[in-house]
Symmetry: C2
Subunit: 332 residues, 2 copies
């Protein structure tokens, strides 16, 4: 089974201490010759370092933990991609844990697993942490950072898109295309994210002095079904000429239900979605979106997590931008 540093020491005729230093590449502690002997012995024995022992004594680990919510939202992949890239560069390992969606217990479990392992840092992707777990996270004394979610009142440091701006930008885009009656669909209005986007939408409508109706905003949970529900709520004969979907998946729901209603997108109805993942490109018509920089979010996440100074850090917005595709066109 596992060969230890002692076995290597014996085989190479040196002390365990020397083996340790050779294997972790601390120069100025051994000669070239012994280094070679040690390496040869290690290879011969198929040595694998025992991370538990290392972490026990060094009290730090080279792995950072990513906790994601198990939604079917697919942008997490992009964020993780960015994280991995940075981890690679910095020779760090990343482990990923699923916490359920709004499941306090699962969140706690995931949190405990990584805290017990005393990881280098924790990145929480799209996790709406249950308040009962705030303390657990805080008292662990491990750097952490939320990604792709916003908090009020400096509750936690985070990196996200500016959700207000997202709502605002989507709306003004549509307004400037001549739309007047614009729906806002399928966002979770209990979430801060949903509220910010809605606020952005309202601000834009206000600024252009466009009246709105409560019927135009539909509650939901960013899911596909919420998109079809929203469209059903608007109805076959809707007065809306455009609608903003809270996610790509929700937009697809709207598209499909619109088609079922025989309302043509984009001719009868313009749709712009929020996120801009690959889904936008594989459906027809392709969906015009407010595209978020998820990969960048992952990269910046790693950078600020590792950069220290998280205490002074509060929040950072990554860029967004309209990606024009086919699902939205000018009106009137």
């Amino acid at each position: 089974m596992g060969a230890t540093i002692k076995d290597i020491a014996e085989l190479a005729g040196v002390s365990p201490a020397t083996v340790s230093r050779v294997l972790s590449g601390q120069s100025d502690f051994y000669s070239e010759k012994t280094a070679r002997r040690v390496h040869r012995a290690a290879k011969k024995l198929g040595y694998q370092k025992n991370t538990s022992a290392v972490e026990l004594v060094t009290k730090t680990s080279k792995t950072i933990a990513v906790i994601v919510s198990s939604t079917q939202t697919n942008f997490a992949d992009q964020i993780i991609d960015g994280i991995q890239e940075q981890a690679m560069q910095k020779d760090l390992n990343v482990i990923i844990l699923y916490a359920g969606e709004k499941n306090a217990k699962l969140q706690k479990r995931a949190l405990e697993t990584v805290i017990e392992r005393s990881v280098l840092g924790i990145l929480l992707v799209a996790i709406d942490l249950d308040p009962s777990n705030d303390n657990l996270l805080r008292s662990a004394n491990i750097p952490f950072l939320f990604l792709s979610i916003c908090f009020r009142n400096h509750r936690f440091p985070f990196i996200s898109s500016d959700d207000f701006k997202i709502g605002y930008q989507a709306t003004t885009y549509l307004i400037e295309k001549g739309h007047v009656k614009i729906g806002f669909a399928a966002a979770d209005l209990e979430s801060f994210t949903g509220q910010l986007r809605l606020a952005g939408y309202r601000r834009a409508m206000d600024e252009y002095q466009l009246p709105t109706s409560p019927d135009w905003v539909s509650d939901g949970d960013f899911a596909y079904e919420d998109g079809v529900l929203a469209m059903k709520q608007y109805g076959e004969e809707t007065q809306l000429t455009a609608v903003i979907a809270s996610s790509d998946l929700a937009a697809i729901g709207i598209l499909n239900q619109a088609q079922a209603f025989n309302v043509k997108v984009p001719n009868d109805l313009s749709v712009v979605s929020i996120d801009g993942t690959y889904l936008c490109n594989i459906v027809r018509p392709r969906i015009t979106s407010v595209t978020q920089s998820f990969r960048e979010m992952g990269i910046k996440g790693m950078q600020t997590l590792l950069g220290g100074k998280l205490d002074q850090f509060d929040l950072l917005y990554t860029g967004i931008g309209i990606t024009e595709r086919e699902s939205a066109k000018s009106h009137g």
Copy 2:
């Protein structure tokens, strides 16, 4: 920072040994009264167990590792879901690692990270392990099992769908609908999976004494783009009346390119995909698929991984079945 078992011992006025036994719930070693005192002290100090220390002495961990390839295939989610369910039941933790796609280095790195941590078991999801890593995996003496991939010559134990059967079943389904000229698109013909499916396709065609043409099978990598490429290869005026796509995403590529060619699915061309993820339901027309039981794969994976006897275990196929949706219809 971290309170240790010793701190608790001191506060509770007992020995560390007793604290350990209380906290890990070994009865018959302490009185109710001291147990209460220990628990109270632990809570008061915000104690978090040091997993490194535990694993160091016990030489086992309660976490199983899942290594996934970072494809944009979305079935991994379902498999992980099944895994998580079982882990929950058995009070195990699961950590997920990304290994790149056919990237020997990344595979090695992921493998090493989990081996060094001496996890309880390793589940490799859709990982086509580079032969250079075979030894690493084998010599670790950690139970492992591949999921959603097949191997020749008993190279590794795995649980997967029967890929030959998938190809066969997709083909006979189409044949019995009256199709004669059937394409086989976008599978990676260098992969064993691709070859098995192709063999199944050929067997079916043979059994029905249907001639085939090399032009009808297109190489690829299960990706969206491979679907559109395949369709381009078949051409606007294709003689094919049906095509089997190697994945849902590839099927969507075919759908879109077909639409671009103005060939109507399913009227002009029937499409059946392999996988049957949610993607099949959110595009129009909905895609008829050979649906795999990914969740079951995850569940069975955990069960056999934990069941021991992996040495006697060779392979296990999980169920498949046609899910009829809208993209395929009778011909002639």
